[in-house]
Amino acid sequence: MLIEIRKEAFNAYAEMQYYLDELDIDGQYGATASFVGTMRDFNEDKNITSLTLEYYPGMTEKHLETIVNGAIEKWNLLDVLILHRVGKIKIAEDIVLVATWSAHRKDAFESCRVIMEQLKSGAPFWKKEETTTGVKWVEKNTPGF
């Protein structure tokens, strides 16, 4: 399991490959579900030029660990990877990656989605949007279901 807060831009698919290369689960995993959240240039009809992501060092990592441990208790998982970007983010840069590895697809699909929803609703991150008309804290996330 790896949970990391990243201050620099990362490439989600390269990161998944690096991580998988170090895992010793060949032959065991049959299913990998992943989600990548990426910086858009719009939100609620506003034009966004950049985004700044703040977090709570210590609590953010701890809360993500609690989420992952809950998923490991509920589903048969071989591994979980979460990367989350903080700081100033440009358009089309990746913000979050959640990946789950399992023998079977049901466990991988369900855990990936639930981890992502729990991250959105509980992990201490806050987005501030720089738009063409000013700067504004995002007040709530788009519903996931």
Partner: protein, 78 residues
Amino acid sequence: MQVSVKYFASLRELMGEASSVIDIEENISVSELWQSILESKKVVFDNVMMAVNMEYVKSEHQLKSGDEVAFFPPVTGG
């Protein structure tokens, strides 16, 4: 007794500070602390989320000396 208090995001900007150390009486809850902060700062803020020692707590959670108390707006990560 003392607790340290942290603010994040829009609440940090509203408070004009990221953290402070506050003297409180014993046997007060995290929501009582929050109300007293709002009154002393003369601000209003809806939908606050509260954590003590980096874990979410209920509003009636009793504070202990040395606790790290955090107040912040609804989270918007991912």
